[in-house]
Amino acid sequence: MKHDFSDLRLDRVTRRFAGAGGHAFAALNELTLTVKRGEFICLLGPSGCGKSTALNCIAGLMQLSGGSIWLDEQRIDTLPPEKRGFGMVFQNYALFPHMTVAKNIGFGLRMRGVRAAEIAPRVAHALKLVQLTGQEHKLPGQLSGGQQQRVAIARAIVIEPPLVLMDEPLSNLDAKLRIETRAEIRRIHKELDRATIYVTHDQDEALSLADRIVVMKDGVVQQIAPPHQVYAQPANLHVARFMGYRNVLELDVVREEGDRVELKGSDIVLTGVRMQPLNGARAALAIRPDEIVVGEGPGGLNTVSARVENVEYGGRDSLLDVVTQSGMLLHVRGPVTTALGDTVRVHVPIERALVYPLD
C-alpha cells in the first residue's frame, strides 16, 4: 500500500442495485476519472446522483458491478477496505463512542501495527493540525458537533493515507462553523500534499474547495472541469440549473450563425451562445440572475421590458422577480431602490446567455 502515488484511476466504474420493480438500476454508471496527486476533487450533485455510491466504491465499502479502480499500476477494487489504506471521514463522523479522542485517532495506527511509542506523537501532531490539543481524554459524547467533526478528520489523516475521502462532512454544521471548517479542510489538504475526494450537494462548497468538480446526475457524470469552468460554462442544462442559472427560458430557434443562436418568444428576441448541438425547433436559454443587467443593452440588443412583481431585499442589492408582457418570468438582481410595480428594462450580454437543447 503506497504512500506516494501519482494517480488514482477510475475506469468505467459501475454499481447497480436491485430496483423497486425488480430490475436493476445503475446508481453509478461508468464513472471514469483520473485523480492526480495533490488534487482536490469534488463530487457534486443532488441526492441520488451517485456521488456517495462512488465514494463508497472507492473506499471498498461497496463492491463494483463493473469497471475497475487503479492506484498507479495496482488494481485495488479487488481489495477489502482495510487493505486499501485510504482515510475516510463519514457524514455522521462515526466516532467510536467507547474510545477517547486519542484512542479514536490512534485506532488506524494501532491496526497497522505502529509501535505505541510512535503513536502518541503522531496523534498529538494530528490534534494540533485540527486545533484540538487538550481534548485527548474526552469521549466523543462530550464534544460539540464541530469538535467531533475535527476528530473525524484527524482520525482519517493521521494514518497519512494517499487519498482522503470525505462524505458531506460539513452538512451537519451550522453556517458559520461550516465556513470556518471549509477553510480548515483546504489548509489541511495543502499541508498533506496527497489527494482528497470530497462529496457534497452544496455548490458553494465545491466552488471554494475543488481543483476540479465532477458534476453528477442519476449516476452519470455530467461535467468534469475546474470550478470557474463549471460556473461559467456549464456543459449541459442540468449542470447549469444546479450551478445557479435560475432563468431557463424555452424559446423558438430563429437561426444559428456559428455559435450564436437567435431565439424568440412571443414578445422578446434574444441572442445567446450555443453550448451543445441543438436538436429541434425550440431550445433553452439559461441565464444567471446576477448576470442580467438592469438598463439598456448596447444597441438595444438582448433587452426586454418587464414589471417588478416581487422584491427580496438582499442588503447589497435586491433579488427581483420581473415579468414580461407575455408572462415570461425572470429572476434579476437589481438596485435596492427598485420598488414593486416598477417597469424596468433589463439586458443580458450575449456571451452570458447560454443556449442548450431541450431535455
Partner: protein
C-alpha cells in the same frame, strides 16, 4: 425527551405522574407485600429460634446440596446458551431474509414452554425414541442412550428453552450498534476479526452481561423439567423442588419461604457479580457520531 422538573416553589402537580400509580400500587400489593411477608415468615419457623429454618436448611442432607445441584445445571446451561447465541447472532446482524426466517424459527421453542419440551424429550430422546433408533441404525452408538431422567436431560431442556431467548436478546443488542462504526473501522485498517474485538465486543459488553443475568435467572428457576426429565430424588434435585416440597408436601410454609429466600439470594449474588464485572467496561451510548 423528558421535561425538566420545575424548581419553582409552587410547582404544579403533574397529572402524568398519576399514571404510574396503578402499576406501582399493584406491584407493591401483589409482589412486594407477599415477598416481605414471606421473608418475615421465614424467620418465624414452626419450631426453634428465628434462624431455625435456615440452619435446618444448611444442615439437612437433602436440602443444602440443592444449591450446588442447581448451579451445576444453571451455570453451564447459561454459558452454553449465551456462548452460542453470540457468534450466531453476530452472523445474523445484517438484515436479510435469513434473519427473518431464523428469528421466526427460533421463536417457536420459546413458546413451547418447559412442559411440552419435557414431554417431547421423553418421547424423542428416550431409550426407545427416534434419536436412539437413529444412532443405532447408523451404528453411531451401540449402547442405549441415557439422556432422560438424568442430569443431561435437564441440561438439554434448559438449552432448548434458553437458547432462543438468549439469541433474540443478543440479536437486539447487536443490531442496536450502528454498523457505520464497523465500516469506519475497516477503512482504518481493521479486518473483520478486529472489527469484532475492538468495536462490537466492548459495545456489547453491557448487553451481554444483562443477557447472561436474565438467562441465568431463567435457568436457575428450573422446575418442571427437573421433575419430569430428571431424577428429582437425586442428581437433579434442584432448589425449587425443595421449596415446593416444603410448601405443598410438608405444609411448612415458613420453611418454604426460607428456601425461596435462599434461592433468591444465591441468584442475586451471581447477578451482582456479573454486573460488577460489566462495570469494568464502557457503559455509554452505542451510536456513533453526534452525541
Amino acid at each position: 425527551m423528558t421535561t425538566r422538573t420545575d424548581a419553582s416553589p409552587r410547582a404544579k402537580f403533574d397529572p402524568a405522574l398519576l399514571l404510574v400509580v396503578p402499576a406501582a400500587a399493584f406491584m407493591l400489593l401483589v409482589f412486594v407485600y407477599p415477598f416481605l411477608n414471606g421473608l418475615v415468615d421465614s424467620f418465624n419457623p414452626k419450631k426453634g429460634g428465628w434462624l431455625a429454618n435456615y440452619s435446618h436448611f444448611f444442615s439437612t442432607d437433602n436440602l443444602w446440596p440443592t444449591i450446588w445441584t442447581t448451579l451445576k445445571l444453571a451455570l453451564p446451561a447459561t454459558l452454553i446458551n449465551v456462548g452460542f447465541a453470540l457468534p450466531i447472532a453476530y452472523k445474523m446482524r445484517v438484515k436479510s431474509r435469513y434473519q427473518r426466517w431464523i428469528t421466526t424459527i427460533l421463536v417457536v421453542p420459546i413458546t413451547l414452554g418447559t412442559v411440552l419440551i419435557a414431554e417431547g424429550m421423553l418421547t424423542y430422546f428416550g431409550p426407545k425414541g427416534w434419536l436412539a433408533q437413529f444412532l443405532q441404525f447408523f451404528h453411531l452408538y451401540e449402547g442405549s442412550i441415557r439422556l432422560t431422567h438424568n442430569y443431561w436431560g435437564v441440561l438439554i431442556s434448559l438449552v432448548i428453552s434458553g437458547f432462543p431467548f438468549a439469541f433474540l436478546l443478543i440479536l437486539s443488542y447487536i443490531t442496536g450498534i450502528d454498523p457505520v462504526l464497523a465500516r469506519a473501522a475497516s477503512t482504518l485498517g481493521a479486518d473483520p476479526k478486529s472489527q469484532f474485538r475492538q468495536i462490537y465486543l466492548p459495545l456489547l459488553a453491557p448487553g451481554l452481561a444483562m443477557c447472561f443475568c436474565l438467562a441465568f435467572v431463567q435457568a436457575f428457576s428450573v422446575f418442571p423439567s427437573a421433575v419430569l426429565l430428571g431424577s428429582p430424588a437425586g442428581p437433579t434435585r434442584v432448589i425449587s423442588i425443595a421449596a415446593y416440597e416444603a410448601a405443598f408436601e410438608q405444609y411448612d410454609y415458613s420453611l418454604a419461604s426460607a428456601i425461596a429466600m435462599i434461592m433468591g439470594f444465591v441468584q442475586l449474588i451471581i447477578v451482582a457479580a456479573v454486573l460488577g464485572l460489566r462495570n469494568l467496561f464502557y457503559r455509554g451510548p452505542v451510536s456513533g457520531g453526534k452525541g
